[in-house]
Each structure stands twice: as C-alpha cells, then as structure tokens.
C-alpha cells in the first residue's frame, strides 16, 4: 500500500497541469504597445553561431531557432517592440510578454500564460508589484523582480517572479543582440 501511495504521489507531482491564458495576447499588445495601429512581425532565424551565443548568454534557445519580435507604430511614429518568451519550469511553461520603447528600454512585462497550478502564484506576484522593477531596464541589465517583491509576497510568488526574471532576461538579451542588428 505504501508503494502504491508513493507511486500515486509521484505521478501527481510529475503531472503538469494545463496551461491557461491569464492575459490575452491582443490585450498584452495594447498595453505594451499603446496606441499602435500597425504591426510588423520580425522573424529572426538564428544561425548556429548566433543561437549558441544567445544560449551561452541566457541559457535558452528560442523554439525552432526563430525569435519573433513584433513592432508597433502609430502612423509614422514608432511605438516600440514586443516579444513573447516562453519559460519552462518544473511546474510547466510560463509565457511572458516583454515590451520595449523605441529607445530600447523595457516598457513593461506581462505574464500572459501559466499553468493552472502556477496561476495563483502569478496573481500574487503581480499583486505584489511584479511588473514594476522591469520598467526602464536596458539590454545588459539583470532583472530581479524576485528580490524586489520578496518582502511582500509568499515563497511561491517569489519563485514565479524568479522564473519571470529569466523570461525578461531572455527578452533583453534577444532584443539587445538581434532586434535591429540584423539586415532584412
């Protein structure tokens, strides 16, 4: 019986709960690229060398070796860029949308997807001000919202913040190296 209970517990622990949408992508786009009415998808197909460089920098490679940035503009005025980054955690994937100003600083970061299990942790982290420390960061900076919210959030919210930090770091590294440094 002990063996069966252990196996059942292990199976439950290993079972990743389904992913739910916390913020719809269009809503994240409206928030992070305010006022934009025209958009361009900029797909950067990384060479082996560049993919390796990115992996060395942030321990991450984009799916299929393709980074997709979205640029927004209002008329002839650039509003900024946006990238959706996936972070795989032991509790399942998170998706973080990171928006940039035309000057290349972070305008904001929004967790758009999480697993059912992580959703309350994300909501607690957001309530504790998860998004605030990211604003104004430039490529090369080290995001650390986990430390910033540690005094006003529980351990699991801080854990999620640490995972979101990874997502923002990946977005910063990608944006800094590849957003407008590659010829079309």
């Amino acid at each position: 019986m002990k063996l069966i209970m252990s196996a059942a517990t292990l199976a439950a622990l290993l079972h990743i709960t389904p992913v739910v949408v916390l913020v719809k992508r269009p809503d994240a786009v409206r928030t992070l690229l305010p006022g934009a009415d025209a958009f361009t998808a900029r797909e950067v197909h990384l060479s082996d060398a560049d993919a390796h460089r990115l992996h060395e920098a942030v321990d991450w490679s984009p799916e299929d070796g393709v980074l997709t940035f979205y640029t927004g503009s209002a008329g002839s005025t650039a509003v900024g860029g946006l990238v959706f980054v996936r972070v795989d955690t032991p509790h399942g994937p998170l998706e973080v949308a990171v928006g940039f100003t035309p000057q290349g600083t972070v305008r904001g970061a929004i967790v758009t997807k999480a697993t059912v299990e992580m959703k309350p942790w994300v909501l607690e982290a957001v309530g504790a001000g998860l998004g605030d420390p990211y604003r104004g960061l430039k490529p090369g900076a080290a995001p650390d919202a986990a430390t910033a919210i540690a005094s006003r959030a529980g351990n699991l919210a801080v854990y999620v913040a640490r995972e979101v930090d990874k997502g923002v770091a990946r977005a910063l590294a990608s944006y800094g190296a590849f957003y407008d440094h590659v010829r079309t």
Partner: protein, 181 residues
Amino acid sequence: MLYDLRRADVRIKWLVTALLATLGLSYVFGALMVALYAGFTPQHVAATYAGPEMAMPMPPETTVVVQHPMSMTDFDKPELHVVDTDLLIQDTHVHVPMYGIIAAALSVVVIGLSLSRRLSLGLIALLFAAPWFDFAGMWLTKFASPRFAIVTLAGGWAMAAGYVIVAVLAVHQMWLSKERT
C-alpha cells in the same frame, strides 16, 4: 463461475456502478480536453503531435530576418497546441499506467458479466489494445508519418467504445436483467 455480477451482493453492484460512473465522468472530461488541445480530426491530431519537428528546418548559415505586416486580429488567432517529444514522454509515462489500471478495472467488470468466453476475451483485448493504439499513434505520428494520426483517433474511439460497451452491459445485467437477483 462464482463471480457473477447479475447475482452479486448489492454492495458489489453499487461499487461497480460507482466505479463506472466515476470513470465515465473522467472520460467525458478527457474528451473535452482532447477537443481543447488536440482535436478530433486526423489533421488536428497530426498537427499536434507531428508539429514542426517533422519539418526540421536547418538553421541558416547566417542569421536572417523575415518581416511581414500583421493586424491586431492576428494576435488573437488560436495557437496550435504542439506536443513535443519531451512532453510526449511525460504524457506516456503518466497516462499509460493509468490507462492500464482503468483497463484492468473494466476487465474485472467484464469477467463478472454473463458473456461468452470469446466475447469476454475480445472485450478485454479491446480495453487494453485501445490505449496502446492511442499512444502508438502519437509516437508514429511524430516520428514516422502524420498519417498515423488516424491510429490515435482509432485508439481514442476504441477506448470510448470499450467503456460504453462494458458500462451498458454491466448496468443492464446488474440492475435491469430479468435474471438478476
């Protein structure tokens, strides 16, 4: 045979009925989950399990950029749920033991039904073969050909059919049959 659900104690009948109801509930939500994440057509299943890994695009020698305009509505398009190899390993590891236990539980019900030996053997084979087909189809779709998506669909429908056959026969023989006691 001593084990005959038609003549079993009412407590046994009630246990089997509760088991079938619980499994039925889980099957209904299993079907809803399939509808949400994989779909019920060979095309959807193939897209879910074959995914981009079938194409295996080679990375370019130098990094290149492709741009195209898009509208706000493009951001709202439903994303395809893709099961990569890692996730399929995990799914197989988690689901197959559970399917085995469910098939065994339903087989125990089958043994208690008044059926010919051949029909009982056939039903037990169906209960265990269905999940094998289900997962074999997923792996073959990923690594052999998207055409094997039909095997996964056949396995899924076979699981549903196996459950419905056992549940209908069991409920009929336990609670409705004239020969019951």
